[in-house]
């Protein structure tokens, strides 16, 4: 972790970030230290290689997609505020938070969490998970365990279940609907980030 004794003042725009994302000062500090740890050449920005240095993440089937999610389309680096904003999605949902901050939905609302997961599938950002995109993810997750036909049938089945308007792709609303029984707020939260 960070070798220098950093305080909250060292972080630029700390207050705004805290307000926007809802992190407490302690957490923000912790994330800043982690950011500095990942940023090995101390440029103040992270590059995909920095993420790739995490061994477990490299072995994660969807690791590259997760890393990609941190980077906005077209950008090569990610700075600390963006880093925190992405991680804000994984804060536990607090039901009785008073919204003093921005009027838009907080980052850790159910919809935003689902949107994040949706974008892991939807790499071309067309707002739909096509069959090919679904197959890519399935292939990554299931690996060499299954044959091609099995993948096809599973993808087929998944699309059949979710696809209500029969356009052979899963839109965000259909995605959200198919997950309505799953407790996303619980599943997609890292508790210590409260």
């Amino acid at each position: 972790m960070g070798s220098s004794s950093s305080s909250i003042d060292n972080i630029p725009n700390a207050q705004e970030i805290m307000q926007e994302t809802g992190f407490s000062a302690a957490h923000l500090l912790r994330l800043y230290e982690r950011f500095q740890f990942l940023d090995r050449d101390q440029t103040g920005k992270l590059r995909p290689e920095d993420f790739g240095a995490l061994r477990e993440l490299a072995m994660n089937p969807i690791g590259d997609r997760i890393i990609g999610a941190f980077f906005s389309p077209g950008q090569e680096t990610v700075d600390f505020p963006s880093f925190v904003r992405i991680l804000a999605h994984f804060r536990p949902t607090d039901s009785n938070r008073t919204r003093e901050g921005p009027q838009q939905e907080p980052a850790n609302s159910r919809t935003r969490k689902l949107k994040f997961a949706f974008q892991l599938y939807d790499q071309d950002r067309d707002g739909k998970i096509s069959r090919a995109e679904l197959l890519q993810v399935l292939r990554a997750m299931l690996g060499l365990q299954v044959t091609e036909e099995q993948l096809q049938s599973i993808a087929e089945r998944a699309i059949q279940e979710a696809d209500l308007d029969k356009d052979d792709a899963i839109s965000f609303d259909e995605f959200r609907k198919s997950l309505e029984k799953v407790n996303i707020e619980h599943k997609m939260s890292i508790r210590f980030l409260r």
């Binding site: 982690r34 993810v137 299931l142 096809q152 279940e161 799953v182």
Partner: protein, 713 residues
């Protein structure tokens, strides 16, 4: 309906008559360890022709023991049957209550006939024969993921809650005894604590039977049920502890400390014994491909062995058997054939059902006893204290644990947990095992009263109360494939984010275990050709399996291994039918297999009859499906089917039933969609599967069903 009741009454009188002893021998005095069987030594009746050959003789004595056991089981089963036939009664009165009432009736009859106490449930018979099947069944069908997610809470309730209850009830009862010095003065503190330890424990049998009737949400179910399973460790230790304290001249602080250590040892010891046997069972099941018929036997043998071993070592047998079942389940299911899996599940359900029925009937019978000692203050205060302490315990513990949980246990849930703490046969057996002392009769009577009260009053009223409080009902749907896929994605995502953040969370451990599992355990414990499975695939297959069972005509998948040559076409046929059925209607008829009474949920009994009926007629002409799209290929298979029909009965479990005509429009669509994938897939498949699978290339549309084939191998 009425006929069945009279039939069971007939049986009970039959048993009563059998209890008639000839004046030659008196029935045994009651304070000897009671035994399961009648102790009548009935001489043989015979038609005596002086010094000639006996043409007709009755030698009851020869078959007495098994005969009586069978009659008891028969009575239990008929009572259960009658219960299910009796219309609206099951909705109001839980099965356990009715069974106890039948037991009371039978006990009364026997008492009236013999004028002495009927046989009671011996502790040995209960702990060694009746309890293991129930716990094994519970462990095997335990929803694993849910259980481990809530494990902390469950342990919290089980360990701390039980301790709270035991100490609370024990100490308060001692206070009552002190207050009622006149009648209860000779009950010491240790006795009260001992009594507290056995009466405080929630009983898995009773809880299961009542919660089965009502469908609460899964989380609540697993909390109550998990607690009732895990508190066995604490109960056993405390009971034995207080018992040995009673025998010691004095108790020191060191002894108490050692007692505390014992709890940990007993619990963990049971766990490890279970783990060991579970892994050995998984390994054994790997090699059962050549003798599939006995594969289910290993499951039962190893589980029972784990139970007996831990009982021998004075560890927690319940924990051992549950751990064994949970451990070996995924490997065994991967290794053995589909039919063996079904056998295992069916036998588990059957045995646990019989056990449970017998337990409740014997509870009823044992209530009719010669000597009951009654004491109003003791009994009433026990009842009251049980309720009060449990309620306060649950409230306090939940208040603490809610801060750490994501899904808080709501007040309504807490009420159900507190009110659903039923006591059952475990308390009953434990109270019989106490060393004799003057007030033992009182303890027995009180235990019976508490059990009857909790089972009847709490068992009957919990359902209306639940409806009143509007507990979140368990949603009856299985996770769909989409959910499973997306959940998996989210799990990976969270693991990745945790890596980024540098935090070891719940996902981290789950991922680590899965990696360990995949790398070492699965490779070692699962047959090579069955190793290619992931949970999504398993869910998919499981869904298919369940749908095919839950459908109106529910044929089990024909096992191809029973034939000398690979009969892929028929199997493809049935699989095709299954899949096309899936493609038709996948949303309905999804139900969990976690039901006490049925393996697959058949909404009417009529539906179960048809596959069974078909079972009789193996030689019957194979009536093919009516999917017109593939019907011409079906006719090719007719010949081979008839060949198969002639094979020995021990291998085939038949029943392929006709299905209603499905809409054909979607079937061509389905096959058309998978069409493009097939030319590539055929080549890929040939590489990956062993040479046994020789699928002619022409059958392209059916190839995507091959994974079920691999399951069958």
């Amino acid at each position: 309906m009425a006929a069945l009741w009279t039939l069971s009454l007939l049986f009970s009188t039959c048993l009563g008559c059998l209890g008639l002893t000839p004046p030659a021998e008196l029935p045994q005095p009651h304070n000897q360890p009671p035994s399961l069987d009648f102790n009548s030594s009935d001489g043989g009746l015979s038609v005596d022709l002086p010094m000639a050959l006996r043409v007709f003789s009755v030698d009851y004595h020869h078959v007495q023991a098994p005969f009586e056991i069978v009659l008891w089981i028969m009575l239990a089963s008929l009572a259960k049957l009658g219960f299910h036939w009796s219309g609206r009664v099951p909705a109001v009165v839980p099965e356990s209550c009715l069974l106890i009432m039948v037991g009371l009736l039978v006990g009364g009859v026997i008492y009236g006939v013999r004028h002495s106490a009927p046989p009671t449930l011996s502790a040995d018979a209960f702990f060694l024969f009746l309890l293991p099947p129930i716990v094994l069944d519970a462990g095997y069908f335990l929803p694993g993921r849910l259980f481990f997610e809530n494990l902390g809470t469950i342990l919290w309730y089980a360990v701390l809650g039980t301790l709270w209850n035991v100490l609370g009830i024990g100490l308060s009862l001692y206070g009552v005894c002190v207050l009622a010095q006149s009648s209860l003065g000779d009950v010491s503190l240790l006795h009260c604590l001992l009594f507290g330890s056995l009466i405080a424990a929630v009983d898995p049998v009773a809880v299961l039977s009542v919660f089965q009737e009502m469908h609460v949400n899964e989380q609540l179910h697993i909390l109550v049920f998990g607690e009732s399973l895990l508190n066995d460790a604490v109960t056993v230790v405390l009971y034995k502890l207080f018992e040995s304290f009673l025998r010691l001249p004095s108790v020191s602080g060191l002894d108490v400390l050692l007692g505390g250590c014992r709890v940990v040892v007993v619990g963990l010891g049971g766990l490890f014994v279970g783990l060991f046997f579970g892994l050995v069972a998984a390994l054994t099941s790997r090699f059962t491909s050549r003798a599939q018929v006995i594969a289910p036997l290993f499951v039962f043998l190893y589980s029972y062995l784990s139970y007996l071993t831990s009982e021998m070592l004075h560890l927690s047998g319940i924990m051992a058997i549950v751990t064994c079942a949970v451990t070996m389940k995924q490997y065994v299911e991967a290794n053995v054939s589909e039919r063996s899996n079904t056998s295992i599940q069916y036998f588990l359900k059957m045995w646990s059902s019989v056990s449970e029925t017998l337990i409740f009937i014997f509870l009823g019978v044992s209530t009719i006893q010669d000597v009951h000692m009654w004491s109003w203050p003791f009994v009433c205060s026990t009842l009251l204290l049980c309720l009060v302490w449990r309620a306060t315990g649950v409230l306090l513990l939940t208040a603490v644990v809610n801060k750490l949980r994501r899904n808080a246990v709501t007040f309504r849930d807490q009420f159900i947990i507190a009110y659903g703490g039923l006591r059952g046969a475990i308390c009953f057996s434990l109270v019989f095992l106490i060393d004799d002392f003057p007030k033992k009769r009182l303890f027995i009577t009180t235990t019976i009263v508490v059990i009857l009260f909790t089972v009847f009053v709490q068992g009957m009223t919990i359902k209306p109360l639940v409806e009143l409080l509007d507990v979140k009902r368990k949603k009856r749907a299985l996770p769909t494939v989409s959910e499973e896929i997306h959940s998996r994605l989210i799990d990976h995502l969270l693991a990745g984010i945790e890596d980024v953040v540098g935090y070891w969370g719940q996902h981290y451990w789950k991922d680590k275990f899965e990696q360990f599992n995949k790398k070492y355990l699965r490779r070692f414990l699962i047959r090579e050709d069955h190793q290619a499975r992931s949970s999504i695939l398993r869910v998919y297959q499981e869904l298919e399996r369940r749908e095919q069972r839950g459908e109106e005509e529910a044929p089990p998948i024909v096992d191809p291994r029973s034939h000398s040559r690979p009969l892929l076409p028929e199997e493809m046929d049935s699989i095709r039918r299954i899949l096309s059925r899936n493609l038709q209607n996948f949303n309905n008829k999804q139900m969990p297999a976690y039901s006490r009474h049925t393996l697959h949920q058949d909404t009417t009994t009529g539906k179960t009859r048809r596959p069974l009926h078909r079972h009789q007629s193996l030689g019957e002409r194979y009536t093919c499906n009516t999917i017109t799209h593939w019907s011409q290929e079906d006719r090719e298979f007719d010949g081979s089917h008839r060949v198969r029909a002639g094979l020995s009965r021990s291998h085939t479990v038949c029943s392929i039933s006709p299905r209603p005509i499905l809409q054909d429009s979607s079937i061509p669509a389905a096959s058309a969609q998978t069409g493009p994938a097939d030319p590539k897939s055929s080549a890929a498949r040939e590489d990956r599967i062993s040479p046994q699978h020789q699928i002619p290339v022409g059958r392209a549309p059916k190839k995507h069903l091959s994974f079920v084939l691999e399951n069958e191998k």
